[in-house]
């Protein structure tokens, strides 16, 4: 547990020192959300209907953008070698990094979302359900993204490849989250969707650090 706490503390400190990055990621998120109404035009009803989808796609893309940095700087300055050779299991350190990434990029995104749903004209009920799906879903995005980053961190141009590897893993989360919001809106039961999202969350947090750690070792060699 010490290892996890150490990584979280270190990552938060580093994120604080580079807070401009953090703001940029949030700006990116809001920009994507804003682009959709601009593209759709003055059709408030349509915008409100697709609002959950817009928010989710924007969240997905902004996580994809920010996750790339999680291991890249560690790889470049040689810290990754030291993490692998440390006394602690690498998968625990990785878990710490995933949690820290969620705290730094997922949580601010959650805080910003109510404002954006207001802007998109989403009703309060759906907005609450959407927030719940984001709360459960964004840690999954961080965890699954870490696998992709770990696989591509050794490559000089890993960006597009990262998207190709990670987006398929994101699709199930996106599907169940948006379906859940739609079901809630229609008054249908959401227990099945909710339990799927919770299952994703538990699986991602417990299992994703293992392939991530293995992939980091491969990338360093």
């Amino acid at each position: 547990m010490d290892a996890v706490m150490y990584m979280i503390r270190r990552e938060l400190l580093l994120a604080f020192r580079q807070r401009a990055e953090l703001v940029n990621a949030l700006l990116f998120y809001s920009f994507i959300v804003v682009l959709f109404p601009l593209a759709i035009g003055a059709n408030a009803k349509l915008i409100a209907t697709v609002a959950p989808a817009i928010i989710w796609v924007a969240a997905l893309l902004s996580v994809l953008l920010s996750i790339d940095r999680t291991f890249r700087s560690d790889f470049e300055d040689g810290t990754l070698e030291q993490l692998i050779l440390s006394d602690h299991p690498l998968s625990l350190l990785v878990l710490g990094k995933i949690l820290a990434h969620w705290l730094v990029s997922g949580v601010p995104l959650l805080v910003l979302t109510p404002l954006l749903t207001l802007f998109l004209g989403l009703d309060a009920g759906s907005s609450k359900v959407l927030m719940l799906t984001l709360l459960l879903g964004t840690p999954v995005l961080s965890a699954a993204g870490a696998i992709g980053v770990a696989l591509t961190v050794g490559l000089r141009r890993g960006g597009i490849l990262l998207a190709l590897l990670v987006l398929p893993m994101y699709i199930p989360v996106l599907l169940f989250a948006t379906v859940m919001v739609a079901h809630a809106k229609a008054g249908a039961p959401v227990a099945a969707d909710l339990s799927m999202l919770i299952a994703f969350l538990i699986l991602a947090i417990t299992l994703a650090p293992l392939p991530t750690a293995a992939a980091l070792k491969v990338s360093v060699s």
Binding site: I147, T152, L155, L165, L167, I171, L175, P211, A214, A215
Partner: protein
């Protein structure tokens, strides 16, 4: 990790031995597969009775069902090779991952395309966002991911290890595709096979399907041997046994 069958695994996976075996089996498997496929296709497209509901449109099944099966089967083979490659670092298993990926991607693509063509007369649309179709599409992306990751890494062995991790992670999609028609209410129809005692479709339609099935599987084996043989030769080109083969001018 040590297991009792390890010496056996190492012996059968020795590259020169595999090369000789592949050379012997490729023509046999390939030609038998092609003959079966030809018979199955002619029978299925020309002689099997039309379906009482779907008319002649169902005949695309003779390509669609074997492709869909292979898309899942090949991924499973790839993931098993990945486990062997990752845990025991057997070169042949590394080669198998890369040899399988493009074949799997092709059959997945074929399954999606034939499915769309079948969907148009049946569902009135080429594509629906149905769980089975969606996850089959994800499977296609996963194949692309494995290929792209392997080609992006210059060192072949490192690339194979990275691709192995990705292939292992992606195996979750295979059961999801397989059980999707059971788990979710879906437009996609249920399995045509189920049990042989009580098939979901008539025997006169099933026999050509089984022949196609055997044919495509044999064909797949021939292609995977062909591809892995070439990849192995490329990887081992500095070794003595490849040198001997080159000298003989095969």
């Amino acid at each position: 990790m040590k297991f009792p069958f390890m010496p056996f695994l190492h012996r059968i996976s020795s590259p020169p031995r595999f090369y000789r075996m592949a050379c012997r089996w490729i023509p046999r498997l390939g030609w038998t597969g092609l003959i079966f496929m030809l018979v199955g296709l002619v029978w299925g497209l020309g002689f099997a009775p039309p379906d009482y509901q779907q008319g002649n449109a169902f005949r695309i099944m003779y390509i669609h069902v074997p492709s869909a099966w292979l898309s899942l089967f090949i991924y499973t083979v790839m993931a098993v090779s990945a486990v062997i490659a990752f845990v025991w670092r057997i070169k042949l298993a590394e080669v198998m991952i890369i040899a399988n990926a493009p074949i799997g991607a092709t059959f997945t693509f074929l399954a999606l395309v034939t499915g769309s063509i079948w969907g148009k007369p049946m569902w009135g649309t080429y594509w629906v966002w149905d769980p089975r179709l969606t996850f089959e599409l994800i499977l296609l992306f996963q194949y692309f991911g494995v290929i792209a990751l392997y080609t992006a890494i210059t060192d072949r062995r490192v690339g194979a290890r990275a691709a192995a991790i990705l292939a292992m992670v992606g195996i979750v999609t295979v059961p999801i595709v397989h059980y999707s028609v059971v788990w979710w209410s879906s437009l996609h129809q249920g399995s045509s096979f189920k049990t042989l005692d009580n098939p979901a479709i008539a025997w006169s339609m099933l026999v050509p399907l089984l022949i196609m099935f055997i044919g495509t599987n044999l064909f797949y084996l021939a292609v995977v041997f062909l591809r892995s043989r070439n990849e192995l030769l490329l990887r081992e080109k500095q070794t003595a046994w490849v040198g001997e083969i080159l000298d003989k001018g095969v």
